[in-house]
Symmetry: none
Subunit: 217 residues, 2 copies
DNA sequence: CATCCACGGCCAAAATGCGTACCATAACCG
DNA sequence: CGGTTATGGTACGCATTTTGGCCGTGGATG
């Protein structure tokens, strides 16, 4: 589990960060001032720190010095878009910066980028005898690559991330295709079938009659 | 017990929310304007808030700021299907949104999803010697899986969530089948009977003559 | 104790869900 | 522009589930 520390004195912003990151599958802790942040960094370990520049007490730049000694990557958050601040932040070793108000999706993209550069992003899933590399988008069984189409791959990923959970056709459609589930078509069944045959999961993906499908490892 | 706050100035809507959620096994409190909602949030604790955007006094977006500081997940209810509003809501940290008029079943599904993401939903029920896993949709007695059909499973869940409560055939039909209870069919009796035999609850589900059934642990 | 009516049990018919084959169209790629 | 691949729609048949009919049983009521 990737652990992220969000440091911002504006609680709504900090909370927004926490919720957005939690939803993206990260574990996120909040700190509301520099001292609290320093304490947390001291006591616990983090893979990434989102750091507001303007903080009461110790400001972001000061805190940065301390963080650098721990070797934890930092994304600066700044309300100022003054070039000097951004330059200063980057020169002090920040991996990236975001100007508030920021777009959540953009933030997630940058977070992912930083984590990837630091090799802290789980890019390889091993499920049911398959090796799924989410970076190269390649699936292998015993080192041999299995070519999949995009839909098949997304479907596979959905199952791989939900081992043991029943996925209704509704859920599957919403996740892979997006939008409303069109009754009276066989699209989902069709792709589930193609996918499970291709990757050799014929016996692992059980159809739960009247409910959906479940991957059992 | 999961506690949900429903905030909507249209009383019929608020009432619909309360009844639907109560029947699904949640404890639901209603507030009819922003001030009342803020008071309740201040004084009591909630696991989830359903929030109408258009409110007299404080509007939903304003209230959202306050709620976020409490860290309570929110599902927005909006009559507008303007994309800007939905995006605004989500960017403000709402977990999900529903466009009015909404389908009750869809609402329940989303409520369940949000609660699950926040780890506030019990995914495993232990009732009457059975272990019911609502994620994998598996029922076990002493580690041994008992295969159930969809109706049997839904029926079982209804009883498991209402231990000691008399469920009229009317209620059962509405919950499991949906719609009006058609007099002059044996459907409910039949399924109750088959279900209780399959899971070994022959002695636990008592028939309350002329009323319905009650599960006694 | 007799009567009535709700309930339980069984069977077969009806409805529904699912897998598969086949085909049409769209996207992709030289 | 022609060929290939990906995607999704329709038709059909099999499997499973669900339901209605019928009759027997047994609790409630006076």
């Amino acid at each position: 589990m990737v652990r992220i520390l969000a440091v911002d004195d504006e609680r709504p912003i900090a909370e927004l960060l926490r919720v957005s990151l939690a939803r993206a599958g990260y574990q996120c802790i909040c700190a509301y001032d520099g001292v609290e942040a320093a304490d947390l960094i001291e006591k616990e370990t983090f893979d990434l720190i989102l750091l507001d520049i303007m903080l009461p007490g110790i400001d972001g730049f000061e805190l940065m010095d301390y963080i650098r000694s721990k070797g934890i990557p930092v994304i600066f958050l700044t309300a100022k878009n003054a070039v000097s601040d951004r330059v200063k932040g980057l020169r002090m070793g920040a991996e990236d910066y975001m100007v508030k108000p920021f777009d959540v999706l953009e933030l997630l993209a940058r977070v992912e980028g930083v984590l990837r550069r630091h090799g802290k992003l789980q890019t390889v899933l091993n499920v049911g005898g398959l090796e799924i590399n989410t970076l190269s988008i390649k699936v292998r069984r015993g080192g041999v690559e299995i070519p999949l189409t995009r839909k098949e791959y997304e479907l596979l990923l959905l199952f791989a991330r939900n081992v043991g959970v029943v996925l209704t056709k509704n859920t599957i459609y919403e996740q892979v295709w997006g939008g409303e589930y069109p009754e009276s078509t066989r699209t989902v069944e069709l792709h589930v079938q193609r996918m499970k045959r291709k990757v050799g999961w014929d016996d692992k993906i059980k159809t739960v009659y009247g409910m959906g499908y479940r991957l059992e490892v």
